[in-house]
Symmetry: C2
């Protein structure tokens, strides 16, 4: 079935220099084409990029921070700083402000999203990053745990291999960079459909975004998601939801969830979060 | 969110003596409540049931056949025969006809769906079972491999842990008991959403039915699915599909699939395959 609804749009692909929020499903290619990381580098200003790496989700922040530092150095970034923040005092230290106020890209590594939020939520560093992201002044990327924190509702953890149910997902508060989404990563790779459905059933005002490994949902200021990378981005839109049953939080009984809309998007596909519609690739 | 669209229907729950096709997601409870197996027993006539067990999907047909025999004996079935068919000649042997023409329930065990179809598709035995099922004269149940064969399009095997793509699923011809469905089993348990999406993208005339373990989609003659058991039945309805990309069969590039409708149904929920609508449980 070839594009039943052929939408050859006149719209151009988004300008590659526009800032964006890049939500990466983890395990992005760091060795070969490095498409996603290179796009981050480009959108952060390419040769003019001043990049801040936040490795705080990781328990080995020095190692992982340096790994990304070398990658962006090799690409030719003008300046790179690793914000190796290991406690909340450091997150509130004004020493980072000068750099954050002139940097053009911030990259949050993988690790544990609870650790990342625990160290950085509501700190001076994160508020500055958040503010400058919302103003469109920097490109903010996060991979794996760094992706999970992007919504206001955040999946802190959960299980897999079970039917959708309330106890399958632990929800808490994320950084709220992109409103009204719940992000999950390593999505089809780690059997996370059931937990994202479970999360959306609890928060049907949110769109569920499941991102596969080496895949990126790039969000621009106007709410347009563009997909890049090797896998797919799964959109769960509960806009027409007609029913969920309502077990208690933490209950293991299975959920009823009727009339979700499901889109599987691959490289080049775009989704408009405002209209909740997919935009076909130009044919 | 409690039943946004409250549908308190006057319809009665289906009569428990009506024949049905019971598609079971594997690993059904054989020890405790045995709800699904007991429902099969009831719908096959309870104390008047004459049951045929087809263990041909299994490489240990004698062992698995006897296991179900003991269960249905214990429940009180009047008569049970194991059709231990191990080659196509046996499947065409008229010796089974007398029993098949008076039996009231047929149970197909788990194992390998390709083996089951290879031994039985288009044989005298299977044509008799099929015909009497379509006439509503017997209740036909299949679990795991025995469930996979129910559609005309059958998932023979596939992978998991990847983005939806053509090479993720091997499709072949099943027994075609229930038209226009593609069944997958052990569904959320074994991360099979991506392969069912991949299958449906190739056959958008079919509804995808993903059945979790110890869960049953019971289909009545009028196309009504009723869910029972511990987990969920996932319906993937491509009726409003607007786009799929079209990689070659076997290609590993990810799929685009827009505008699937997704329902997660649990115990007591019903779905009408003709109208493609969920019927809420009576509230």
């Amino acid at each position: 079935m070839l594009q039943l609804e052929s939408q050859s749009l006149a719209q151009e692909m988004p300008q590659s220099t526009k800032t964006a929020v890049m939500i990466i499903g983890g395990a992005e290619d760091k060795v070969h084409g490095r498409e996603i990381l290179h796009t981050f580098f480009s959108r952060a200003g390419a040769a003019d990029a001043a990049i801040a790496i936040i490795p705080s989700a990781s328990r080995e922040p020095a190692v992982i921070g340096e790994r990304y530092q070398h990658i962006f150095e090799e690409m030719g970034a003008k300046e790179i700083q690793i914000l190796d923040i290991r406690d909340r005092d450091a997150g509130n230290d004004p020493q980072w402000q000068e750099y954050l106020n002139r940097c053009t890209g911030v990259f949050m590594t993988g690790g544990d999203q609870l650790r990342l939020c625990g160290l950085l939520a509501d700190t001076l560093v994160m508020e500055t990053v958040r503010q400058r992201t919302l103003e469109g002044k920097i490109t903010l990327a996060g991979t794996s745990a760094g992706a999970a924190v992007m919504g206001y509702q955040m999946i802190a953890g959960g299980g897999s291999g079970e039917s959708p149910n309330r106890s399958l997902v632990d929800l808490t508060t994320g950084l709220g960079i992109v409103s009204d989404v719940i992000v999950d990563q390593h999505f089809h790779n780690r059997n996370r459909m059931a937990r994202l459905i479970s999360a959306i059933a609890s928060h049907p005002q949110c769109i569920g975004i499941g991102i596969d490994e080496d895949t990126c949902a790039m969000v621009e200021g106007d709410g347009l998601i563009q997909v890049m990378g090797k896998g797919t981005v799964t959109i769960l839109d509960p806009g027409e939801l007609t029913h969920t049953n309502e077990p208690n939080v933490g209950a293991t009984e299975p959920l009823s969830v009727f009339n979700l809309r499901l889109h599987v998007l691959c490289h080049g596909d775009r989704y408009d979060m405002r209209s909740r519609k997919v935009i076909s690739p130009e044919s």
